[in-house]
């Protein structure tokens, strides 16, 4: 490979990195709020599938991408309410409920897809890339940063707003205190349940949006199991990003890079490594990063523990 080909190669990978990271950015920033409020949602994979399907189905039947996004948001809210009902109000074991939502997400989307869409598998008109004028012409950086679709660009303001909300507002303080010491928050007059409902709903809605990105922007149709573990990886991203929106954003990009590398290297014909080794790359890297992180990942203290108001 000569230099210009090498530059092109790196450019393609970096430009794909952000696009591939986007669903994980939405899901992991959402889950940061959920976990910071003390609730662990291991059902992200299910929620992402539900959002991917809801977004696609609504956009397909109405012909409107905006309504598709709205559909995904509503789907995230409705199923999120159900999740919160079980984990916060009923105080059920959060792992159990999360596992159930993974099953329901997989089953419901697969069932409805086969019932409604089989034999008429056309896609929708996906979100087009928007070239930012002038900036997109910058050599190298232009294609990497300024030729994406709207949902990819939105991840940056999302990260900034999420950081502001979590660290600079009363609501953010409430979320963090409820996740660290619910009893103290309760004494100070914060409604633990209300904040946890909010934390769960922010998480499920953003995860659902991340799913819709897959069917409305990244590709233009729904496929069974389209998320291929991205919801689970988002869980790892939250840990790796140390429960902060900024951390989640950059760790998602790191995992996006693994994905992009893997896809790009597979596409190179003369490479001699078996493709499965490349396929396994994101998962192996997740394990390695967790090992490197040892001891430094301190989770919110009340994570996973339902709050029982003592009588």
């Amino acid at each position: 490979m000569d230099t210009s080909a090498m530059i092109l190669f790196v450019q393609t990978i970096l430009s794909a990195t952000w696009r591939l990271a986007t669903p994980m950015i939405y899901a992991s920033i959402g889950e940061v709020f959920t976990e910071r409020s003390g609730v662990l949602n291991i059902g992200l994979e299910g929620f992402m599938l539900l959002g991917a399907f809801a977004g696609f189905a609504v956009a397909y039947f109405t012909g409107s991408l905006a309504l598709g996004i709205l559909g995904a948001v509503l789907c995230g809210l409705i199923f999120g309410l159900l999740f919160a009902l079980f984990t916060v109000t009923i105080k059920a074991n959060q792992i159990v409920v999360g596992a159930a939502f993974n099953l329901i997400g997989r089953g419901l989307t697969g069932f409805l897809y086969r019932a409604w869409f089989v034999n008429k598998a056309q896609g929708v008109q996906a979100f087009p890339p928007i070239d930012i004028p002038y900036l997109n012409a910058i050599p190298f950086l232009g294609p990497v940063l300024f030729r994406h679709n709207i949902l990819v660009y939105c991840t940056v303001p999302l990260m900034l707003i999420a950081g502001f909300v979590l660290y600079k507002t009363a609501f953010g303080l409430a979320v963090r205190s409820v996740g660290e010491h619910p009893k103290a928050a309760d004494t100070a007059g914060v409604s633990v349940s209300l904040i946890r409902y909010a934390g769960v709903l922010i998480g499920t809605t953003l995860t659902s949006l991340g799913g819709a990105y897959l069917t409305l922007a990244h590709t233009n149709q729904f496929v069974e199991g389209i998320t291929t573990g991205r919801g689970f990886i988002a869980l790892a991203v939250v840990v790796f990003g140390r429960w902060s929106p900024k951390g989640a954003f950059w760790s998602s990009l790191l995992f996006g890079l693994f994905y992009a590398l893997q896809l790009r290297l597979q596409a190179i014909a003369n490479i001699t490594i078996p493709y499965q080794f490349l396929q396994a790359l994101p998962y192996v890297m997740t394990l390695l990063t967790l090992i490197l992180l040892r001891g430094r990942a301190i989770s919110p203290k009340a994570l996973g523990v339902p709050y029982q108001k003592s009588a």
Binding site: N93, L103, L112, G229, Q279, Y283, L290, V305
Partner: protein, 378 residues
């Protein structure tokens, strides 16, 4: 509510407050009622889950009566159908009762799927390459190697947890992907059947490694009996041995366990080894009893389904025998439903998820774990 001291104060209060109505109920009824309720609630949960799924069937334009009839016949219609249910229940019982050990230790092993694959790989390698042993040595060897590989795959996550404090939910999920992709590599690369054309599968294992079938002409093999025995052994281990007691203590409160002199890390590793070993054994039995060779996607998600099987039975291995058969019936019936009534079989995942939620909703679900409400210290 777990706090025993609080319960005593409750009864004290009840005693002091005069409630004449309460006295009319015989003590025996009061004692039996919760147990009865605990037994009925899973059944009620299944009924409710099937009812909600019925609404879904109607909404999607299917005839639910026909779908459920076909499903029932597919599961229990004749001897062959019943034997297929038990064949599908075999890995679920093994995986579920293994997971019960991990869950009782509050180790959230989501990695049974990968451990199943590891066991299947181990069994296949032995079954292909060792050709000269008699059946009575070969079968134990195949199952043993499968169990060991599954246990090792599980212990890897356990080791990452105790050594690097790596969240086992994340690591076991990653190890699932790695095991599945690794199997894909083996069956398309080094282990690919040289005589099999381009199919991504290994050669057949030798005759001596195949599990005997005891109910011809059905495919029911001794793996089912092994699963029952393992479930009973794990029941005894959890509830009747000091190791089981230590594992449960670690699960309820690791800090207390440490004060009590229990080596927490060792028991975490042990719990992961047992649950991984059971899943590995399930993989080995699948190869030696049904498929006779390894191929991509040899598991249709048994590892994930096993989680639901364990949770539905409240992590009690004897209950897991029943919930394993139930889920086997759901899956087996759903396959027939898909063929005869054209209803997508993925519906079964919705039913399974709903069963879990319904059990939870009935509020009788109790899993003693660090995720449970801890009694607040005043």
């Amino acid at each position: 509510m777990n706090d025993p001291s609080r319960e005593t104060t409750m009864t004290m209060q009840e005693r002091s407050v005069a409630r004449p109505g309460m006295c009319l109920l015989p003590k025996a009824v009061l004692r039996i009622a919760p147990r009865l309720l605990a037994m009925i609630s899973p059944i009620a949960a299944i009924v409710l889950a099937l009812f909600i799924s019925m609404l879904l069937l109607i909404a999607a334009g299917y005839n639910p009566a026909r779908a459920y009839t076909v499903m029932w016949q597919g599961a229990f219609g004749d001897l062959r159908a019943i034997s297929e249910v038990l064949i599908k229940a075999t890995p679920l019982i093994l995986i579920g009762s293994g997971l019960a050990v991990a869950f009782r230790c509050s180790i959230w092993n989501i990695g049974a799927e990968g451990q199943f694959y590891a066991g299947a790989v181990g069994a296949t390698i032995v079954g292909i390459f060792i050709t000269s042993l008699p059946s009575y040595l070969m079968i134990p060897l195949v199952l043993l190697v499968g169990t060991l590989l599954g246990a090792l795959w599980g212990m890897l996550a356990g080791y990452l947890r105790v050594r690097f404090n790596a969240n086992e939910i994340v690591t076991t999920i990653m190890l699932n992907y790695i095991a599945i992709i690794g199997t894909g590599y083996l069956v398309t690369g080094p282990l690919m059947d040289p005589a099999g054309g381009k199919y991504p599968q290994t050669a057949r294992i030798v005759e001596a490694a195949m599990l005997p079938r005891f109910l011809p002409p059905t495919r029911l093999h001794i793996g089912f009996i092994i699963a029952l025995i393992v479930a009973v052994i794990l029941y005894l281990l959890i509830f009747k041995t000091s190791i089981g007691y230590a594992i449960r203590t670690v699960g309820i409160n690791p800090v207390t366990a440490r004060y009590a002199g229990i080596h927490v890390e060792r028991h975490v590793l042990l719990a992961m080894a047992i649950s991984g070993g059971a899943a590995g054994l399930a993989g080995a039995i699948e190869v030696a009893g049904i498929s006779f060779r390894l191929y991509q996607q040899i598991s249709p998600g048994y590892g994930f389904e096993g989680i639901a099987v364990a949770l539905l039975a409240n992590n009690h291995p004897l209950g897991i025998i029943l919930s394993g058969i139930l889920f086997g019936a759901l899956r087996s019936g759903a396959e027939v439903m898909q063929i005869s009534a054209k209803v997508p079989s993925v519906l079964v995942f919705v039913i399974q998820g709903l069963v879990i939620l319904c059990v939870v909703a009935f509020g009788l679900y109790r899993l003693h774990s660090r995720w449970e409400p801890r009694p607040e210290k005043e």
